[in-house]
Subunit: 220 residues, 2 copies
Amino acid sequence: MDIAIVLYDRFTALDAIGPYEVLSRLPGARVTFLAAQAGPVRTDTGMLTLVAERSLEELSSPEIVLVPGGPGEVAARAGEEMLAWLREADRTSTWTTSVCTGSLILAAAGLLRGVRATSHWLAMDALAALGAEATSQRVVFEGKIVTAAGVSAGIDMALALAGRIAGREVAEAIQLSIEYDPQPPFDAGSPQKAPREIRELIEAGSRFRSAAEQQSGVTG
Amino acid sequence: MDIAIVLYDRFTALDAIGPYEVLSRLPGARVTFLAAQAGPVRTDTGMLTLVAERSLEELSSPEIVLVPGGPGEVAARAGEEMLAWLREADRTSTWTTSVCTGSLILAAAGLLRGVRATSHWLAMDALAALGAEATSQRVVFEGKIVTAAGVSAGIDMALALAGRIAGREVAEAIQLSIEYDPQPPFDAGSPQKAPREIRELIEAGSRFRSAAEQQSGVTG
């Protein structure tokens, strides 16, 4: 089972690595990290580099496609090459998936028109502006399109996907292997739960400040 | 604030990337991925490569040291170079930390003698055999030594550490930024919660099969 994780400059590492850690443990899984060009790809912090083993054109027809989010999504969805690859890959994939603002890239590729989908909580308006039916859930299954909310939500998505693909027992075995029994020391992980002043602080600093800015793409 | 994440061949990616995603968002954080030699480092699945930006000898005296786990820990703790670096780094660190079986490496370096610490649930006996006071908790703070349980527990550890370092508000802002509001689709994330047959299946396939094997190191 070929699983393609599509990287681009300034993606968010955990968006990709959370699902990788789950999906790579599926029986028969072969995960390949791809990018426009094979080679090192820098994450959004500038402090970490992952290696894309292959270029996009070197792998076609993966069963699972996963697109992480991150500030680099603005440039990623401005470039036609990745969008064309995604459209083509989606024609034959069993599952086309994203984490965080990766859903904006899927939407820019035209794959989410009228499709229920989620994204980072700050990017829900941007997602709707790109034609998706923005749905504030942590994980949204809609046919073969599966989208996850911000960053860490990719772990929950991948476990749910593992259950659909290989059954509950396999998914539970993966969950136990990675000891995924979360015990966050604080309870501020969603805009509904976080203190209002924390939420406002993040909103103020966000590149998703207004719908006008989102649509013009100047917030990248 | 220098944060050193120490990589080695066949480490587990999420052990390192979970905490990286949290700690890199601390004000003033400068995360450096290190390994015995700078350059590409392969993870345990063989399907992913991260880049160590520097060699161990190029960075001394980080404020935070983090050691991930993974099947490569057996070879890592058999080599004196990393252990010597950890002993030296621990002399001046503010926090010396590990995720999963990274605690076995800290223990092999002699840093956990009589110290309360945790590890992957399968490795608790191995941890005790190396002289630590093995404690089945998700995150254990003991002075400046902080250890996390298996793989995904590094996220919880890093958020708790962020709270100690920068205060609750900053930690909550990080939690909201990465939308860490976990909703696992199954409830099998600890040996207590997982169905018995799932647990036994994993135990049967584990390289930590018996205390004798652990201590002779033949299970790597």
